[in-house]
């Protein structure tokens, strides 16, 4: 279970809307099941003009991306800025919190991890334990219906995505 306070829930939707049609991405942190902090991370795809920067993507996705302009690539994919991701991880550690989830938006498809999402999440699994990072959930914000954004969370293990319950927590008055 992942419990997200309503202000962060709302900010993730605003983040997705602000970047639409580009995908947005970020990190959620907290303790136990409770998210208490959010970090917006830059999706750097729109500014990556060098094909070597796309090395992360699998062959199928890569041939897709190569046919697009950098701006168009950010509509169908995201790449977190590594430095911002690392700074967020450091801040989370210093505050005694735990990285709970990575989030990103799908601006015109459902809130389900794509094959590329799963492949890259599994790649992260390969070194996560060695770097002392707890298993993250993967949260997706779908703007497929612009009026009704959908947020879902998943566990990605052994190349399988399993939905986990996600709760919008009201803030104490």
């Amino acid at each position: 279970m992942l419990s997200i306070p309503s202000d962060i829930w709302q900010d993730m939707i605003e983040h997705a809307r602000a970047l639409d049609p580009h995908e947005c991405c970020g990190i959620l942190a907290g303790t136990d099941d409770h998210v208490t902090m959010q970090y917006r991370i830059t999706n750097i795809l729109a500014r990556m003009h060098d094909e070597a920067d796309l090395a992360h993507f699998d062959q199928a996705k890569l041939s897709d991306l190569k046919n697009l302009t950098p701006e168009e690539r950010a509509d169908v994919a995201f790449q977190m800025d590594a430095q911002e991701m690392s700074l967020a991880q450091k801040d989370i550690r210093q505050k005694g919190m735990t990285l709970k989830a990575f989030y990103h938006s799908h601006t015109f498809s459902p809130a389900r991890p794509s094959l590329t999402d799963v492949t890259i999440a599994m790649e992260f699994e390969n070194y996560r334990e060695r770097l002392n990072i707890p298993e993250p959930y993967h949260v997706i914000i779908s703007l497929e219906d612009k009026e009704r954004p959908v947020i879902r969370a998943y566990r990605i293990q052994e190349s399988q995505a399993t939905e986990i319950p996600v709760q919008r927590r009201s803030l104490p008055v």
Binding site: Q79, A82, M85, P113, S114, D117, Y127
Partner: protein
Amino acid sequence: MITVRIPTPLRPMTEGKSEVEGKGTTIGELIDQLNAAHPGFKDRVCDERGEIRRFINVYLNEEDIRFLTGKDTPVKDGDEVSIVPAIAGGTHG
């Protein structure tokens, strides 16, 4: 020797190996030496200005070298260096 962990996307540069051994007194030297052993390696890790690419983090043991002294970070025998791409994803396929 220094053990360097290679992420899947960069393994075409290292004949498919997930770990290679390297030498050097700094991260920068280590990258140059790996490039000599695996031509093209540096170009995949560093941009045209020689900086680590924006989608990659390089860890010395458990610390990001950006929080140490970047490419000047000293390395010694027995150290482990991990090249770690930041999280990414795609909508279709």
